[in-house]
Amino acid sequence: MVLIDCFLMLLLAYGFGFLYYGLYRNLSARVHGRFGPSLAQSFFDSVKLFVKEQSTTFGWMFYAGPIIMATGAVLNVLFIPFINHGDSLQGLSSSANLIVVLYLMVLGPLGNALGVGSNGNPFGVMGITRGLTRLIALELPFYLAVIGVMIDAGSADFSAIFEAQSQEMNLLKHPLLFMAAFISFLGFMGKSPFDVVGAPQEVYSGPATEFSGKFFALLLSQSAMFSFAKLLLMVNLFLGGADDLGDLVLKTFVLFVAATFIGSVYARFSTIQSVEFLMRIPTLLGIVGLALL
């Protein structure tokens, strides 16, 4: 039963991940005054990449990088409940709590660093250095907000967090914490103005520069799934979780569209600027939010 549940969750995350990625390309095309590709374009891309030849090798660590990242993404999907009650679409969330999920969220960047480190491409190394620097600044406000949510619920369990939001969701109860978390969430999703990692025109594809064929496809698939996991986490922490599948789609969609529009209109910060900004505004918001608890 749990196995079927897990399988279903992964399937949903995969489908929604690619759908949202397609939607992102489509929406940002509309913002640019273009029509953009079809919704399933990213899916076509990943299928094509899976059947493309792999031309490079830099030893086993190079291949291990994307696999570690994919492991992080899959575990995250399985440990975050999709629905806020009942037994279905819960995956393994009863045996994990928020702390495990937060811990697993940094597995991706670490796997990436290992893979990139072994190929030695200067653009990859630059990208990953930027990514890890930014990650430190991203985590600070996000963790402040999460600590606030945990204090409010009195527990790090998802069920307790849902329970605490049964009357009023955290977004309304603690708007400052939500704002702090949302700004870091933009960075976690790789949206402008914090998209310094794979910044085109600066570091080419950043960490993905040397990857081709199947492993690049794996990178794309895991990032689509991981994005959906992050959306889920935000929905669970601040929007009270989803009552059913329709609610899940609605809430993740609203968050996603907000992030996409904000990302489409801002220019990119430099690494230092984004670190400074994240250390100031959202961190301050988080601290004030914590003080008001």
Binding site: P37, K52, E53, Q54, S55, S205, T209
Partner: protein, 203 residues
């Protein structure tokens, strides 16, 4: 026998049918995905490169066809060589092409890639790109408008969908000696190391 435009079109279609009948459903599906997702490495060698930005941005929006630019040869399917090449540039173009993974295709943009164009008697540009690299699709004109480039992409898409064995990367592998001899003649002692041993084990 029927004559005219329709007859011509029918003959093309029957040719397409005969190629498709030899392929399995899986092969056809893979070819379809390949045709609908083309990652482009746009190599701005000559003045024709100036027509590529409008093709890729809001004005002509080629992303509608699933064509996107990528920054590294490792991920690219299609190399656009946009115009004349001096030997010095060509060396880099060849290296970029050889770093791409199969299946890969080349679009020659502009008359200069076909026969040297207005540079045909220049002392330091090559005349015919096809002598050094296998070109899959030429887009003629000096310089070709974005519409022409889009037309080239659509034609190339049809070619990829047919999954024919005449694709450039297969030609390059099978006739490597020919291409290599031309490259050696042009570059002399400064020719890059041969990639031939990498072909071993490929189908």
């Amino acid at each position: 026998m029927e004559e005219g435009f329709n007859a011509y079109r029918q003959s093309l279609e029957s040719e397409e049918q005969s190629i498709k009948s030899t392929q399995s459903v899986v092969e056809q599906a893979i070819a379809w995905f390949r045709a609908h997702s083309m990652f482009v490495l746009a190599y701005g060698t000559g003045c024709g490169a100036i027509e590529m930005p409008p093709t890729f941005t809001s004005r002509y929006d080629i992303e509608r066809l699933g064509v996107v630019g990528v920054a590294t040869p490792r991920q690219a399917d299609i190399l656009i060589v946009s115009g004349y090449c001096s030997p010095k540039t060509l060396k880099r173009v060849i290296r970029s092409y050889e770093q791409m993974s199969d299946p890969k295709y080349i679009i020659g943009l502009g008359s200069c890639t076909i026969n040297g164009g207005m540079y045909w008697d220049s002392y330091n540009t090559i005349k015919k790109l096809d002598d050094f690299l296998p070109v899959d699709m030429y887009v003629n004109g000096c310089m070709p408008r974005p519409e022409a480039l889009i037309e080239g992409f659509v034609k190339l898409q049809e070619k990829i969908r047919l999954n024919s064995s005449e694709a450039g990367y297969i030609k390059y592998r099978d006739n490597y000696a020919h291409y290599r001899a031309n490259q050696e003649r042009l570059f002399g002692a400064q020719v890059a190391p041969s990639y031939e041993e990498n072909f071993a084990g490929m189908n």
